[in-house]
């Protein structure tokens, strides 16, 4: 679970947390596009480092490191897979070229993880729901989103309770083959699902009792307003995009092995 911990929102009083989710979302999209644009080590390394000030400004280094550590396992797999496939199917002249390219692609993965992690670590689901709402996503969908996020800890706790209860009755969760392990979880899943359905009925009742659907012109307690910092971030994202497009079209990016003359 350690990798997902690196994406879980934590309330910290920082300027990055206060930024408009829409601005941050644009930033993440740009990062994504730029990372996909390049497949050389140098620009990807720059992308990885350029995001770090944001992590420190948000004071989420610890959680961010955890997400990177969690992603490391995947990164190794991606690296090995790349080396393997490039060795057998690519036409590279040397092993070092293959290693370099694989490393670059792994870096790309880390850049993506980094920007997603920053986004989810610093954006409260409440604000995210609000951003969706203000982007004219139908309210029903936004509501479903925030409610789902709200019930994650509740369901996790419930799953734990059910697990303990079933274990107390002698259910073995560990051991056995892969298929057996999955089947072991059926006695946990069924009560969990039944409870969730029952819960949803109660929720529906409460919603109805709070005048759900009374008017088409629903209002909202909060409004998102873009501030100076949000515009700065968007400006930065836009500049990144322009520069990257220019560089990728016009600049021959040297390879590390070429620089080191291996």
């Amino acid at each position: 679970m350690s990798m997902f911990d690196g994406f879980k929102f934590r309330s910290v009083n920082s300027s990055v947390h206060k930024m408009d989710p829409r601005a941050k979302f644009i930033y993440v999209c740009v990062m994504f596009a730029v990372a996909v644009m390049f497949s050389q080590i140098i620009p990807l390394l720059v992308l990885l480092i350029i995001q770090m000030p944001l992590v420190f400004a948000a004071r989420v280094q610890k959680e961010w490191l955890r997400s990177m550590k969690g992603a490391a396992g995947f990164a190794i797999i991606i690296f090995l897979m790349n080396v393997f496939s490039l060795y057998f199917y690519g036409n590279y002249e040397s092993l070092s070229a293959i290693v370099e390219r694989s490393f670059a692609l792994t870096l790309r993965f880390m850049v993506l993880i980094e920007s997603f992690s920053v986004f989810f670590l610093t954006t409260s689901p409440d604000l995210l729901g609000l951003a969706l709402e203000q982007s004219r996503v139908p309210y029903e969908l936004c509501f479903a989103f925030t409610t789902a996020v709200r019930f994650v800890p509740v369901l996790a706790e419930e799953a734990q309770t059910i697990m303990d209860a079933q274990k107390a009755r002698g259910l073995e969760l560990e051991g056995g083959s892969f298929i057996k392990k999955i089947r072991n979880y059926i006695p946990i899943l069924i009560p969990l699902i039944v409870n969730a359905i029952r819960r949803s009925l109660e929720l529906a009742e409460t919603m109805e009792s709070r005048a759900w659907g009374a008017t088409q012109n629903r209002t909202n307690l909060y409004v998102l307003r873009m501030g100076r910092k949000d515009f700065l971030l968007m400006l930065f994202s836009f500049a990144m995009l322009v520069v990257s497009v220019y560089v990728s079209l016009n600049v021959q990016i040297p390879n590390i092995i070429y620089l080191l003359n291996i």
Binding site: R199, E202, L203, T215, R218
Partner: protein, 281 residues
């Protein structure tokens, strides 16, 4: 003019073979504090669902007889319209909070009604202050205790400024201290704001001193209805097995042994006072 009036109300759930409650005829006046009690499965919850239109609008099934709430014929008005007159608080506090902060939850009903932001802010703060949870307004629901969550649920319906608040066993998930706090909040709503309260509760020890009227249901019928002292002291109440307050029971035992208190007590304070009066002689 009663604020809630039913005439020969009978309801059967779609999957039920016999009515959940039948032939209920009651009149509740504005400002009353009604405690509704009775054994589990006697139809209390089902009856409450009629007060804000969950029956017949949310639950299908067969509803016979008549019911008026705040002069509205329940059958003809949608739930969201009735919700502005009748607030509903349910048993499980966890399932009544949708948002990720307390404040946002309290605003939920007002947002649905399309109330302007300034007015909403005012009412949300007001409701939070009355229920004593203003300090928690930025917390997430899972950071709160059950008692606090239930107070958020009460604030959420209070913000919609209903004339009636119906609470269906609001304390069954809470510890005694949490329950006591909830009852005090409810009592304040009734005494200070004049909101009509219908409280479904088993803990009569804690609630009967606040009530102006007690109704006891059994097997789908209202069998006792009247002032708390009279109802709780009756032989029928004890035989149905509702948990009549211990001090009231003490009064009965003392009476059987030949010691008469001047008044039927409903709380420990009243009992102490009564005992002192009698024993000083």
């Amino acid at each position: 003019m009663p604020i809630i009036e039913t005439k020969n109300l009978t309801y059967t759930y779609p999957i039920g073979t016999k009515p959940a409650f039948e032939d209920v005829t009651i009149k509740i006046d504005k400002g009353e504090f009604v405690v509704l009690t009775g054994p589990s499965g006697c139809g209390k919850t089902t009856l409450c669902r009629c007060f804000n239109g969950l029956i017949p609008h949310f639950y299908s099934g067969k509803l016979e007889g008549e019911i008026y709430v705040s002069n509205l014929k329940v059958v003809n008005h949608p739930i969201h319209e009735l919700a502005q007159h009748v607030g509903m608080v349910f048993q499980n506090p966890e399932n009544q909070l949708f948002a990720l902060s307390v404040e946002k939850d309290v605003a939920f009903g007002l947002e649905n009604l399309g109330i302007s932001r300034e007015k909403m802010r005012e009412r949300v703060d007001w409701a939070l202050k009355i229920t004593g949870i203003y300090g928690l307004k930025d917390r997430a629901p899972y950071e709160l205790s059950g008692g606090q969550q239930q107070r958020v649920a009460i604030a959420s319906v209070l913000a919609m400024q209903p004339e009636i608040i119906v609470l269906d066993e609001p304390t069954s998930f809470l510890d005694p201290v949490g329950a006591q706090n909830i009852f005090e909040v409810i009592n304040r709503l009734n005494k200070d704001l004049g909101i009509t309260i219908i409280l479904v509760e088993h803990r009569l020890d804690l609630t009967s001193k606040y009530a102006s009227r007690v109704m006891i249901m059994d097997k789908g019928r209202i069998i006792l209805d009247g002032p708390p002292k009279e109802i709780l002291n009756s032989e029928e109440a004890r035989l149905i097995g509702v948990g009549i307050p211990k001090v009231t029971r003490l009064y009965q035992i003392l009476k059987n042994k030949g010691l008469n208190l001047n008044e039927i007590p409903l709380s420990a304070e009243e009992a102490t006072k009564g005992l002192l009066e009698v024993l000083r002689i």
